[in-house]
Every structure is written in C-alpha cells, then in structure tokens.
C-alpha cells in the first residue's frame, strides 16, 4: 500500500535533502534564530562535549612527558593495528552482507521476503556481548581477530542493511531498466547503477558500524581481542592510570574523526538523480530463477549465524546450565530497572535532540552545522569515559551531588546515545515543511504553539524512531552502568555480566533472553514503522517535494 501511494519521487540521499532544506530555510526564513532555541542547543552541545573536556583535562594533568612513553610504545602500534584492521574488515563485510541482503529482500522475488526482512534486522536488538557469549560458550576456542571479526560482523551488519533497504525501496527503478535496455548485464547493472543509487546509504551505515566498533568493549573482552577500547579499560581500572586512559581515548576520538572525514570524502557529490518527480514507481522484482536456492541458503545461513547461534546458546544454557555458587538475583527487578532507565534516557535524548535538529535544519548556518556535527564524536567514546567524566564533574563541581543516582545514570545513557536520537529527529525535521508553521503564525499562533501544534505531530515518527534507537542501545549498556548505577540496583546487563564472568552460564542466560525480548520490541517497531508508513506528508500538504518517511532511516544514517 505504501509503495503504491508514494508518488513523491524517489530520493537517494541526504545531499539533495540538505541542499533543498537549506535553500528552503533561506527562502522561508522564520526570522532570526530564536534566542531560546539557540540557548537550548548550546546547552545540549556543551553537555555532549563535557566528556571531551574531561579527557583533555585529565590527559594533560601529568604533562606530555608521562604521556609520551605511554602513547609511543609497541603496544600502541599493536592496538592501532588490531583496531584499524578489524574496523576495515568488519565494515567491509557488513557493507557487502548488508547491501546484498537488502537488494535481495527489496528487489527480487525471494520467497517469504517479508519474513526474511524481519529476521535479518532482529540481530541489531541482541547485545554484542550476548552474541559474543553465544559463540564463545559453544565454540570455546573462538577468539582473537577471526572471532572478533565474525561476532562483530554478525552483530552489526543490520546497521548497513536498514538504510540500504530503505534507499533501495525509494530508488528509481527506471535507471536500472535503462541500463539493462542499453545492453548492460545484470551484474554490471547492479554494480554501476544500483550501487551508485545506494552509495550514500551504504556509506552512512558503514560509519555507524565503524563508530560502534571503536567503542565496543564487552564482546572483545569475552573474545580476548585487544583494541584501544579494551586497553582504555585496563588503564582506567587495573593500572589506576587515568591520564593514560584519557590519552588513549583521545586517540580514539582522532580515529572517529578520521572515520567521519573519510566518509565525507567518499560520499562525493550527490549524482543519483531521478528522471522526474512523478516517475517513481514500484520496481518490478528481478526473478531469481536458478539462483533462488543458493540465495535462500545464503539467507538461512546468515540468520542461523546471526540469530540462531546467540538465541540457541541462550536456550541451551537455560536448559543445561549447572548450579552457581553466586547468590540468586531478581530478574523481574532487573528488567524493570533496565526498562525504566532506558525509556527515560530515550525520552531525554529525543527531547534534547530537538533543539539541535531545529537549529541546524531551520537556521542552518555554518556554526549551527559545526555545533550539530560536534555531537557525533560522543558515539565513539567508551562508556567508562562518559561515566568517569560525569563522576569527575559531580565530584569537582557539585560535591558528589546526584552521583550514583538514577538521574545520573539516565543522563549518561542520554549523552552516550544522543547521536542516534539526533539522526532520527533531524531527518524528520528536515522533512517537515516550514511553510505550515508560517501559515500557523500568520494565523496568530506564537512560535511555541506552532511548534507544538504543527511541527511536533509532523515529526512524531522521527521522535518515535529516536526514542526506539536510544532505548535499544541503553538496554544493552554495561560499562557506564557498572560505575554509575545506584548501589544495590542491578540491570539485566550488569546481572548478566556478573553471572557470565563467574562462568555461571545457566544463570546468565535468562538475563540475556529477557534483554533480547525487551530490545526486540523496538527493533520490530522500528522495522515496521519504516515499512508501513505512507507518504503522509504528501497527503497532508500536497507538496510533492516532501520525501516519504520510509527514507527516515536512510536519511538518519546519511544526514550526519
């Protein structure tokens, strides 16, 4: 239904959207930047940059002479090699798997497409350390580079699949048909046209994968693979060496800057044009023919490895787990706390993303863009850095106020996963036409009323997506939680970790199971949301230029 009702033309990426949004903002300027909006946005950006300030402050504490031998030792080279080689290999694998899976589910007559489309997304809701645990508890010798590559690829490839699938759904099939009619074979059409149309979505997904890999800790700890992030934990927690850990974290920040710059360079100009606003239509699916069985087998293997192994391990250990000498714990209380903290963080991050998104879309000056971009760096910072930064500020400027309170833990989650909320909110804001607000204001609404009565309902899908993304990540957060959680309280992740590190797999498994259940809800909601929405703005405003919300995730990944 969604496919048929869409008549707004296809869109492939954020460049056009941004250019158009800027042009629109210039043409329909809502007056000068409201001071309240600016103040709120600056406040949010400051909160997000606070961990960076903490890092620089701590790293500089003992002076360069102590950092020099720490940074320039042979271990740094090893870690750099481990981190970068894993980053390159896993990102490339995710790009290939995510893109192929998306093409087969979106563009071919693959049997049971709808079922596969859900199954290949669900692994995003399984915590990386649960995937690691699943593999490790079955294949004990798994570890090192090969193990880390396998586990991380299976855990994060949906971050490429989701935007690419959305981009393919909205891409103009005419170009492929033209290429075919001009004599290009299937494979070359795919390589030269389809990949071109989805390039920005692929790159956007790859950046998310790369940033997530940089900050990953739990899975690598289980698999015994050392990266900058695992080393940062060692320095902080075993070596009592906060300056060294902070210096290494700054290397991590530099690496994530490299990722962002590389992506910006690789993105190039938006050259995927369409043949006309009315030309978009549903692509006729390619017939797989003799390839049907191998492709089905490929999907079966992917789902088996990414979903079957972790879920199977959880079930296996729930049934076969031995007894534990650890005291038992309440899974219901842990689940409740996990859900409450994560939901609160989802709401706060989403609300905080709104002023930044409004500022950068509606008043998109260079400074506003820089302000917005600066908030992405936080995604590559390990949870422990965020936790210790908050500890530091609480201790030095507030005499320990709120330390280890629910409020501070929720704030930490909101900071850590803010970028995910921002990409979703920003996309939907850029899709909401400012003209409606202008009309409302000409009819006597003030700015806030117009925002509340028009823009907020229009961007509701984006807000929901933002909430879901933050919720999903917060449910599985472990390392900041261990430092900041109120004493005596457990979340599913901390209790899972306590049992898992005591080799009490039978007791750990139910916690992983509940975590997957809780996290699966928003991943299914997310998937269905993008799947089932019509081009509602078109219906509402008659503006054909308005893009369909299906692109929200693609946009989300690209719009950084």
């Amino acid at each position: 239904m969604a496919r048929v009702s869409k008549h707004d033309g296809s869109r492939y990426g954020g460049v056009r959207a941004r250019t158009r949004a800027r042009a629109y903002a210039r043409a329909h300027t809502l007056g000068t930047t409201p001071k309240l909006l600016l103040a709120l946005a600056v406040l949010v950006a400051l909160a997000l940059l606070a961990p960076l300030a903490f890092l620089i402050q701590e790293a500089a504490r003992d002076g360069w002479s102590t950092l020099d031998p720490l940074l320039f030792r042979s271990l740094t080279a090893t870690l750099l090699w481990n981190t970068i080689s894993l980053l390159v290999v896993v990102t490339a694998l995710c790009a290939v798997i995510g893109t192929l899976a998306a093409w087969f589910t979106e563009r071919t007559d693959l049997p049971a497409r709808a079922v596969w489309a859900v199954l290949v997304v669900v692994p995003v809701g399984i915590p990386d350390f649960v995937t690691g645990f699943g593999w490790k508890s079955i294949f004990h010798s798994l570890g090192g580079f090969a193990g880390a590559t396998l586990v991380m690829t299976l855990a994060v490839y949906p971050l490429v699949y989701l935007p690419v699938a959305a981009a393919l759904r909205n891409a103009d099939p005419t170009q492929e048909e033209v290429a075919r009619s001009l004599g290009l074979g299937r494979v070359r059409t795919f390589l030269r046209v389809t990949l071109g149309q989805t390039r920005q979505a692929i790159l956007g997904g790859c950046v998310l994968v790369a940033l997530v890999l940089l900050a990953e800790y739990g899975a690598f700890e289980i698999l015994g693979f050392r990266t900058f992030t695992t080393e940062i934990y060692t320095e902080f927690l075993v070596g009592f060496n906060s300056p060294a850990a902070c210096a290494l974290s700054l290397v991590l920040v530099a690496l994530s800057l490299c990722v962002l710059v590389t992506e910006a360079a690789a993105r190039g100009g938006g050259r995927a044009s369409r043949s006309g606003p009315l030309a978009a239509r549903v692509a006729r699916p390619h017939t797989l023919g003799r390839a049907k069985l191998p492709v089905l087998a490929g999907f079966a293997v992917l789902v088996l490895l990414a979903l079957g192994v972790p879920l199977g391990a959880i079930l296996y250990w729930m049934i076969h787990g031995g007894s534990s000498t650890l005291p038992s714990a309440s899974i219901a209380a842990a689940a409740l706390h996990t859900a409450l903290y994560s939901a609160a963080a989802g709401v706060i991050a989403t609300l905080a993303a709104l002023p930044i998104a409004l500022l950068s879309v509606r008043h998109g000056s260079r400074a506003a863009t820089a302000l917005e971009r600066s908030t992405y760096l936080v995604l590559a910072l390990p949870g422990i850095v965020i936790a210790l930064a908050l500890t530091f500020f609480s201790e030095h400027y507030a005499a320990g106020l709120l330390y280890q309170s629910s409020a501070m833990l929720i704030a930490a989650y909101a900071i850590m996963f803010f970028p995910l909320a921002l990409v979703a909110v920003r996309t939907s804001v850029s899709q909401a036409p400012p003209s409606l607000e202008e009309v409302a204001r000409s009819l006597g609404c003030n700015r806030l009323q117009a925002l509340w009565r028009l823009t907020v309902p229009l961007i509701a899908p984006g807000l929901a997506a933002a909430f879901c993304l933050v919720f999903l990540e917060a449910v599985t957060e472990l390392t900041a939680t261990l430092v900041l959680i109120p004493t005596g309280v457990q979340t599913l992740a901390t209790q899972f970790w306590a049992f898992q590190s005591n080799i009490s797999y039978g007791q750990a498994a139910p916690y992983a199971g509940v975590m997957v259940l809780i996290a699966a809800v928003p991943s299914v909601v997310l998937g269905r949301w993008f799947d089932g929405l019509p081009a509602r703005r078109t219906a509402l405003t008659g503006r054909r230029e308005a893009p369909a919300p299906e692109t929200a995730f693609a946009e989300a990944a690209i719009a950084r």
């Binding site: 902080f236 927690l237 070596g239 000498t325 005291p327 939901a343 201790e395 320990g400 929901a464």
Partner: protein, 346 residues
Amino acid sequence: MSRAMTRSRRRGLSAALVSVCLLVTAALAGCGGSSADLTIYNGQHEQTTDALVAAFEKQTGISVAVRSDDEDTLAAQIDAEGSSSPADVIYTENSPPLEHLQEQGLLAPVDSATLAQTPARFNSPRGNWVGVSARVSVLIYNTSLIKPGELPRSVMQLAEPRWRGRLALAPGETDFQPIVTSVQRAHGAAATQRWLQALKANAGDRIYPDNETVTSEVNRGQVAIGVINQYYWYRERAQVGVAGMHSAIAYFAPGDPGYVVDVSGAAVLKSSTHSAAAQRFLAFLVSRQGQEIIAHGTSFEYPIAAGVHTAAPETPFAQLRPDPISLAALGDGTSAIALLQRAQLL
C-alpha cells in the same frame, strides 16, 4: 493508508509518549539513591560477601548496601570519587588495592581491637586495613593431560618451552600481580621480564580474562595447566560437582616465588559518614562468627583469625609453606603492573 488512520496512529503515538513520560517521572522519583546505613564497595566474590553481610545485618540491625565489582575497578572508582565517595567500607580480594588507597591517603585507621584479632603480618603495615581471609596461589592441571610427576616445582619452570600451547594465563586478574611482584623480588626485574615474555609465548591465545575461565578450561581439558588461587578450584567443584572434575591442584615447592599467600582485607574510608557502623562491620569480619562463615561457606578461602579451621581446602593454613614475602613488599602492585604492561600482558 487513509488520513483517518494516520491521525489515529498519531494519537496513539502521543498517548505512548505521554505514558512513557509518566513512567520516566516514576523512575526518577522511585529509585533514588540507597537509603542504607552502610555502603560497602565489594571487590570480594559476592558468594563470600553476601553471607557475611546477611549475618551482620541480622546481628546488628544495620542495613547494608553492597556494590560489587572488580576490586581494581572499585579502587579506581574511589580514586575518582575522592572525598565525596559514597563508600563507607571497601572489601577486597587482595591487598594491593588497599595499599593503593592507603597511599592516596583515603583510608581511616582501623580500630586497634579489630587489628588485634588477626596476626599482625596479615594486616596493613600502617594499620589502615585489616586482613580478613587468605588465599594461596597453586597450579591447576588436567589430570588426563598431565601426570603429577610432570608438574613443575617452580613457577619459573612454566617459562620452559615444554609448556608451549599447554599453559593458561589470566594476567588481567589482580590475583596474578602478587606472583609477579614475588618473582621480581626473587629474581630481579630483567629476569621477570624475560619470564613473563616466555609465559606469554607459552600461553599463546590461551590468555583469559579471569581465573574462573582458566579453571573451567583446564577442568574441561581445553588446556593442560594454569596458575590460580586455590579457591577457584573448590568453587568449580561446587558448581559442576565432583563427577565433573577432571583437574587437580598442586603446590609449588616450599618458598617458591609462585607460592604466594594473598590477603583479602577491608578498610574504612576516611570520607565515610558512617564510620562507627563501618568499624563495626570490620570488627564483625574478623570476629569468630564472621570467620566461621568464611570457613564454612562457598568462599573456600582461609580465615586468618586464630582457631578457625576450614573443611575445604583440606591443607591447613598453618601447613602452607609460601614464599615469605611480606604484604608491604607486595605493595600496591605498581611495579608488577608496569612489568605486565611492558610484556603486553595488560
């Protein structure tokens, strides 16, 4: 999709948002900080601490909140928290984190009556923490992969090439640092460095995050031999049952630098706002009742106050013949950490 459906969906969304906001408010209001009389940062195994805390609460009526994590993590956390640390007591598996906090000036003196309960050599040399229980480093070996006659007599022999691919190591565990310190004291830094490098080569990819993994992997026959503290083996036995045990423990030769007694201890934070209750908890740990709980629970450590004996481990504490290194010489582990880092084991 019709406009009406769109509208109803939006209304559903607002309802969902409102209910989430309500939930969040409830979360913030409902789960404030803990209201316990005493907060313990627990680096000891939860198995040990839980039983002790339950008995203490019952005896004194003082309510206790326990925050469990790795001892080094907790010490680093107290470092970061400084004078506003919510912790009243820190209870650790090994002495180095306590020595570290003592050097930072963060510990208060322990009541002298408490210190008098345990032998002075197991307490802080400066009286700022009290020893509670002791553990001893031993070899664990898989009985079908290794015959008792093949076992090394010294921890130094684990560096020999014959152990290549057969050795498991958990160098990230704080339990390993005292062994490194003791080897360094016996053989000097350069020899310790070479020894660590050889261990690393022998362990290959069998470098595990913790002693639980070393124990379980040796027991399952995935790897032949490892160095652990004795109680991990007893705990494994309690979890998998006697029938599931395919491993045994063995002691090094008397006085060997690999044969180290580690002391688990507790201290009161200088910043504690409940120091009277905190001192009572320390006194309870070394009281007859506290020591009996350690002796008969699932902790499998040695109580160190006089007159309390364990059923398991079977070897009486007094019969152990460890390297006579003092707790002061074990220190805060800084030099061991530096050596481990240089060998890329940390």
